[in-house]
């Protein structure tokens, strides 16, 4: 009779029956799938873009200010799409960052626990609403209001898109920032109150700076989400790629262009099909680097409290 040593530490407890070994490999395969997905995304995007860039020079793509892939003379300058995306992103950040931060300060520093327990999930419902619903909301509610204030507003306009994306990402900012602020230890607050600080001073000069890494990480994630947002901006902001400073005119974001091509019948190998991947790759690089940046901020500037 052999004595089997059972090691209770993680990683090496499978005793050696076939079932144990099979289970380990099956589960490992499941976990590896996430790595495979990442590799597949990158390969698919690069492969499709390679075809595109064999027809269109990278320089023209990155510096051209005219995007007209469907109407002759064809032109593939991606800048109007990037501009549209950044316009929506900046506008939505202008709404969501202050509103979300103040909400987080209220929930973490002022509200009593009962209020926090109700308000936080209510706000998180906003994050769970499908983005197509936000698109409808922009068309049927926000644009008419804008038209009443500023009659020149078109049916499709960048402002409505920015407002609606801003509302959508408020809960991301407020929820993650509130988590960061709540995890600031009470000792810091008590010390500040002991020195005679007011609640305003404690909130803005003690708690906010102490939670800055979490708050900034939340900002970056929210902005990254705004860049990748698709259905709301396709419906609200229009399909007209142009560089304009007037937010009441229609624009087109990178994602809205992809929707436009995706809903048309696009044949494999056509330059329209290939342009999907070039634009997709640009979008992926932008959001991916922001996600990495957010992770880096969180780990680099984390304040460790015991």
């Amino acid at each position: 009779m052999t004595q089997e040593r059972i090691d209770l530490s993680r990683g090496s407890n499978d005793v050696g029956t076939i079932g144990d070994r099979v289970a380990r490999y099956v589960f490992f395969a499941c976990a590896s799938l996430s790595v495979i997905t990442t590799v597949a995304i990158i390969l698919v995007l690069i492969e499709g873009s390679m075809d595109f860039f064999s027809h269109v020079s990278l320089v023209e793509f990155l510096t051209g200010t005219n995007w007209s892939p469907r109407i002759r003379p064809r032109s593939y300058g991606v800048l109007p799409l990037i501009y549209g995306t950044l316009l929506i992103t900046a506008g939505s950040a202008l709404i969501a960052l202050p509103v979300g931060t103040l909400t987080a300060i209220y929930l973490s520093e002022y509200a009593d626990p009962q209020v926090r327990r109700t308000v936080k999930p209510v706000l998180e419902v906003l994050a769970g609403v499908p983005t197509i619903v936000y698109g409808f909301f922009a068309l049927s509610f926000i644009t008419p209001i804008l038209q009443r204030i500023y009659p020149e507003t078109g049916t499709f306009n960048a402002a409505a898109g920015a407002i609606v994306v801003g509302i959508m990402i408020i809960p991301m900012v407020s929820s993650l920032s509130e988590d960061a602020m709540s995890s600031v230890p009470d000792d810091l607050r008590q010390a500040a109150y002991g020195l005679g600080a007011t609640r305003l001073e404690v909130s803005t000069q003690v708690v906010f700076p102490a939670s800055i890494s979490g708050v900034v990480a939340a900002y970056i994630l929210a902005i990254s989400r705004a860049i990748g947002e698709t259905m709301a901006v396709s419906l609200a902001a229009g399909m007209l790629p142009q560089i304009t400073t007037n937010p009441f005119e229609p624009i087109q974001t990178m994602t809205a262009y992809m929707v436009q091509i995706g809903t048309g019948d696009v044949s494999v190998g056509s330059i329209g099909y290939q342009s999907l991947f070039a634009v997709g790759l640009t979008l992926f690089i932008m959001t991916f680097s922001m996600n990495i940046f957010s992770m880096w901020v969180r780990s680099r500037y984390r304040e460790e409290y015991q």
């Binding site: 976990a31 997905t37 499709g48 409808f136």
Partner: protein
């Protein structure tokens, strides 16, 4: 004279305190107003959708195929219609099939990955690479998953714009969230239970199967249902895979064409006639109702099995 200067030296604080109090009140007001922005926006959104859908959401809307004619949707016209009223039925059934398929894939892959990371994974760089990779995938825009689905499932694996290609795309999309929530559920199982099982002579796989998993099931289910309720509202990925914008009968096989509620809603929303706004809103009410029901089930499971209460 000297008492006067001393008094003013200390009394000058009075105005400063008043100013600080005022500032504090203004700031609290700003915080409250900011909190209200989100709540008011949510109320406005729900009220707007409900107002537009009022009277247009009928039983016929749920049980008939869509139509390109706006007259067919108007409940006032139903009596005089030869074609029968227009509705959302094929997209509704399509969404249910889509979510059912996604649930099956997600259940195996997500829970499997979580079990590996929580129960098996050694503390190596590769493990932390997988973990970082998962949180990165959660931040990839959903339309990029759509491109992946289009190039890999629909084209390379020749599934076409089928229900199964859509379900696989949605599976990859929600997998990161499912893995993280399942990991939390597994982590919440006390180590003493694992030790007791080993002590009774069970192997690792037996311990996981008979002790850890049953204990973690409520938490895992809650996470999966919440992720699926997110998937049911996703438009961009299935749009890229090539879901039909309008289908007149429900999908009949996993390899066939399909439509889903968000696609149908998108199609209605882009139609120029103003009356389609009502149909769009009615579709949204159906979508939100299903979403709320799924959330309610998830909350019910969590509350029922939460041991801490």
């Amino acid at each position: 004279m000297s008492t006067d200067t001393t008094r003013s030296k200390y009394e000058f604080d009075g105005s400063a305190i008043r100013r600080k109090r005022l500032l504090g009140k203004v700031f609290l007001g700003a915080c409250l107003a900011a909190t209200m922005v989100g709540i008011v926006a949510l109320i406005a959104l729900l009220a707007d959708v409900a107002y537009e859908a009022w009277g247009w959401l009928t039983i016929e809307f749920l049980t008939y195929p869509p139509s390109n004619l706006i007259e067919n949707y108007n409940p006032a016209n139903y009596g005089g219609l030869e074609t029968g009223p227009g509705g959302i039925y094929p997209a509704l059934i399509g969404s249910i099939y889509l979510i059912a398929l996604t649930a099956v894939f997600t259940l195996f892959l997500g829970v499997g990955a979580a079990i590996y990371l929580e129960e098996y994974a050694p503390d190596t760089r590769f493990t932390s690479f997988i973990e970082a990779n998962i949180s990165n995938l959660a931040g990839v825009p959903s339309i990029v998953y759509g491109l992946l689905g289009l190039a890999m499932f629909a084209r390379a694996l020749q599934m076409g714009s089928s229900l199964i290609a859509g379900a696989l795309t949605l599976t990859l999309l929600i997998l990161p969230i499912v893995i993280v929530s399942s990991q939390e559920a597994l982590r919440a199982v006390p180590d003493s239970m694992r030790r007791a099982s080993y002590g009774a002579g069970a192997t690792k796989w037996q311990t996981i199967r008979n002790v850890v998993l049953p204990e973690a099931v409520p938490g895992i289910m809650t996470g999966i249902i919440l992720s699926l309720s997110r998937a049911i509202g996703e438009t961009a990925p299935i749009l890229m895979v090539g879901a039909a914008t309008m289908m007149f009968r429900p999908p009949y096989s996993p390899t066939g064409a399909f439509s889903a509620m968000p696609m149908q809603i998108f199609e209605w929303a882009t139609l120029p006639e103003a009356e389609f706004q009502h149909v769009t809103a009615a579709g949204i009410v159906v979508l939100l109702t299903i979403l709320l029901l799924m959330n309610a089930v998830a909350i019910f499971i969590r509350n029922k099995y939460d041991r801490r209460t």
